[in-house]
């Protein structure tokens, strides 16, 4: 009914976090004395970009599905279920169950992906260091 709205809310939060992380990283790069530590680690802003891309992509395509099924309408309040209190209750229940699970699954997949990518980056950096010696 409107399960994608939970992921949309998360996408907004993640996008704001991504922009903040990007600003922070840019200001750190400007520092004259760079330690060089963790250069092989992928920046947080880039990882957050992956999550926001997954969330926004899913939200846009699911919103299209909801328009297709007539659950999202072009007039206020834009959600067909909001016109009837019983339907609205069902919609909120669906958001609390399906919607939250959708957002959680995407976040868990992203977290695992980040861990795997980090380990690959560390391993390739170690291999490069061995080859350099």
């Amino acid at each position: 009914m409107a399960c994608f709205l939970v992921s949309a809310a998360e996408a907004v939060v993640v996008t704001v976090m991504e922009k903040n992380a990007q600003k922070k990283e840019e200001s750190q790069v400007d520092l004259p004395e760079s330690t060089g530590l963790g250069e092989h680690v992928i920046p947080l802003s880039r990882k957050l970009k992956w999550l926001s891309n997954m969330l926004w992509g899913g939200v846009i395509l699911l919103a299209f599905e909801h328009i297709w099924h007539g659950e999202v309408v072009p007039w206020f309040p834009f959600l067909a279920a909001m016109s009837d209190p019983a339907d609205a209750a069902e919609m909120f229940y669906e958001m609390a169950t399906v919607g939250v699970c959708m957002a959680m699954l995407i976040t868990v997949v992203w977290f695992v992906m980040c861990r795997v990518v980090d380990s690959i980056a560390v391993r390739s950096a170690a291999e490069a260091e061995v080859a350099h010696r």
Partner: protein
Amino acid sequence: MTLLITVFAAVFATVKWYNRKDDSMKLGILCFMFWGASLMWLVDALFEYWELKAEYFSPALEDMINDTFLGLSVVALGLVIWLVRLLILDPKGTVRAAIQR
């Protein structure tokens, strides 16, 4: 059916991304978009299966056709979003070159 079509689109986009020569086609966004939607529809499918049990695997023909059209439309929408973004970003400068000609 929508989930299945989106998963195939996600796998295809990921294979194309893996075999890319450079990042000029910006295929990453396409992968994330289709994988994001696939994961969300997977949860939807699991909840539907929880509700319908075995009946979930034997949908009516009309529903299946509608879901197939929806799946194809979703993939088309994803591709259009990717293409518009690619033309706006214009990493190869093709659009800019065509305008300046």
